[in-house]
């Protein structure tokens, strides 16, 4: 059975208007050797960045409803039973988690669907696969993403078939992210959207940029690799998470 509880310490968002991002608990809070508090996990810096974006959105417009609405989801039995510790760790770190969903391996996807999650992030490939199969846009954290702290949220959309493989879920996410990005100016934005194509050439790259724009997403940074090795470039780009073709998943 899935239970969702609101985090009373954090302002609740209107889930219809916000961008609901669900993150697997194990990505945010790792087992620590001692104490009641978990250690910071791979997605920690990402959460800080999301919080920073929300803060700046509200500063620009106190009535802003297009905010990041973070849902922390447990995906195994052990953590499901650690609800108190999870809530207190969240409070300890001042994480802006709106809701907690205490579910297990079998039913965490229900939780995502019930809470209208538009994006699901996890460090576990199986979890990402399960959620994707049920139509939730999902991304794997850890392999080509960075956990160093940063003020700016960096999202990378990668892959050569990204426009061709759009689903309604993808479309909705990109329109919302695009609108959110549009609340800020060209420079010094707390959120940066990058696009990267790995194999295609210039024409294909241009078509992707135009295609994304027509779907509501204007890229800030763009790379056309045409076969060049992507490792060194990702090390400079340092995205918090990547979305795109399966070819990019390890």
């Amino acid at each position: 059975m899935v239970s969702t509880i609101a985090n009373v310490d954090v302002m609740q968002k209107d889930a219809d208007k916000a961008l609901v991002v669900a993150i697997s608990c194990s990505a945010v809070l790792e087992d620590a050797d001692d104490g009641d508090v978990y250690a910071a996990g791979a997605a920690f810096a990402l959460l800080q960045a999301l919080k920073s974006v929300n803060r700046q959105l509200v500063a620009a417009n106190p009535d802003e409803s297009l905010l990041f609405d973070v849902l922390l989801v447990t995906t195994d039995e052990r953590r499901r039973r650690q609800s108190a510790r999870i809530v207190s760790s969240t409070k300890h770190y001042g994480l802006e988690v709106s809701r907690f969903c205490f579910s297990g391996q079998e039913d965490f996807v229900e939780c995502l669907l019930e809470n209208q999650a538009q994006l699901f992030l996890s460090t576990e490939p199986e979890e990402v696969a399960l959620a994707s199969q049920r139509g939730v846009l999902s991304a794997l954290l850890g392999h080509q993403t960075w956990s160093s702290p940063s003020e700016q949220l960096r999202v990378l959309l990668c892959g050569d078939d990204v426009v061709a493989t759009f689903t309604p879920a993808t479309q909705r996410f990109w329109s919302q992210l695009g609108a959110l990005r549009g609340r800020f100016g060209v420079l010094d934005s707390p959120v940066s959207v990058s696009v990267m194509t790995a194999h295609g050439g210039r024409q294909h790259f241009g078509a992707i940029l135009a295609g994304l724009r027509s779907r509501g997403l204007k890229a800030d940074e763009a790379h056309c690799l045409a076969g060049a090795p992507r490792g060194p470039i990702l090390e400079v780009l340092r995205p918090h998470f990547l979305l795109g073709d399966l070819a990019w998943l390890p």
């Binding site: 060209v186 420079l187 050439g201 204007k218 940074e221 090795p229 490792g231």
Partner: protein
């Protein structure tokens, strides 16, 4: 014991990354092979000579730059997007880039599977939205070429024209400095209009220069790439120039004679000359030395009699060749360069850059060494740093 494990796991990581790289490379090859046009695919970066050009060197964006400076970045981006179907006019690096394509066409004819080619990356801190206009502009020059090809019977001309402006790699940083990406894209030479970025690149050990549009236009060769270099503080270090500036010409001549057989230390553009030499040898290997589409020139204020020997001996000790060495013994470089008509001329002193510009030579300033502190022989007053 743990050290070995760490090394092993790094090995595994490196192997995994290499496999990924090979997959990407194979996929890119397949992509280009499946294109209906016979567009040549870009080379493997680690084998290629990669030239990163900024948007303002490839295209003339003077009017747009003015908007950026007077009205700010938002207006600038909006303007570019509004005009994105209007192709930009060629900039200072355009003839150089076209000449690189000509060399590539000749190399592909001799080595059909070769990866040792020129590779161009458009490296700009513009936003991706501005990038659409840049892509459209590059497409425009490609289309012109294609149209011509359909009317032209001469095979060699077809080859040359069809390789016009094959720029397939792009790095648009959306505002942040591109310097971090230069190494990631394996850049051998970076050309920009921004002296600060160029200086940063040189400090990172990457050959770089600030490009200037000439005041008049010279007719350039369209079947041979011609690159001219100054010697001191460009190909060589500024060690001798320091002696001139600080102790005068007589000390300089004495010093150079004394150390004639001691090679000079290398300068920021040495590696680029080396890369050009590597490609030239590919033509020599196929008996095309007389018809080589790359020609290099040394244009130095040194005089052949007194200080020239050291320069030639240094080049020899590096195993590098230069096709023509011109010793001016202090005479102005402008008129000579006007005769050479290089696609690009590298010099460390703005005084020479200005002289070259005036007489129609496309010049590139290398902001390196002691020459930056002087103008026309006089020490520039440095403003007090706050």
């Amino acid at each position: 014991m743990s050290d070995i494990k760490i090394n092993e796991s790094k090995q595994v990581e490196d192997n995994a990354e290499e496999k990924e790289e090979e997959k990407d490379w194979a996929a890119a090859k397949a992509f280009f092979e499946n294109l209906k046009t016979n567009k040549p695919r870009p080379p493997k970066p680690k084998n290629a000579v990669t030239i990163a050009v900024s948007s303002r060197t490839l295209f003339n964006m003077v009017a747009e730059r003015l908007i950026y400076e007077t009205e700010g970045v938002e207006s600038y981006v909006a303007y570019q997007v509004e005009h994105e179907n209007e192709p930009l006019k060629p900039g200072a690096a355009f003839p150089f880039v076209k000449a690189l394509m000509t060399v590539n066409a000749r190399l592909r004819a001799l080595y059909p599977d070769g990866e040792e080619l020129f590779d161009i990356v458009l490296m700009t801190n513009n936003h991706a939205q501005v990038g659409v206009r840049l892509i459209n502009s590059i497409n425009h020059y490609g289309t012109l070429a294609f149209g011509f090809m359909q009317n032209c019977a001469d095979l060699l001309t077809i080859m040359n024209f069809f390789s016009d402006l094959t720029i397939e790699r792009f790095c648009m940083t959306g505002g942040k400095s591109p310097i971090g990406y230069l190494k990631a894209y394996m850049t051998n030479l970076y050309l920009s209009k921004d002296a600060e970025k160029v200086t940063e690149a040189i400090d990172e050990g990457i050959a770089a220069a600030t490009m200037f549009m000439p005041d008049t236009e010279n007719d350039l060769c369209d079947n041979q790439l011609r690159v001219a270099f100054d010697g001191d503080a460009v190909l060589f270090s500024d060690e001798s120039e320091i002696i001139v500036k600080q102790s005068g010409l007589d000390s300089f001549f004495e010093h150079e004679k004394k150390f004639e057989n001691k090679p000079l230390a290398q300068g920021p553009l040495k590696c680029f000359l080396e890369a050009l030499g590597k490609l030239q040898r590919k033509f020599y290997a196929k008996n095309e030395r007389l018809d080589c589409p790359i020609r290099t020139f040394l244009v130095t204020a040194r005089s052949a009699a007194s200080s020239g020997a050291r320069v030639l001996k240094t080049l020899r000790s590096w195993g590098l060749e230069i096709d023509e060495a011109l010793f001016l013994a202090g005479a102005p470089k402008g008129p000579l360069l006007q005769k050479i008509k290089p696609h690009i001329y590298f010099d460390d002193q703005m005084f020479h850059i200005e002289g070259a510009k005036e007489l129609g030579t496309i010049s590139a300033h290398v902001p390196y060494g002691i020459g930056q502190k002087y103008h026309k022989g006089k020490l520039i007053e440095q403003p007090k740093k706050e």
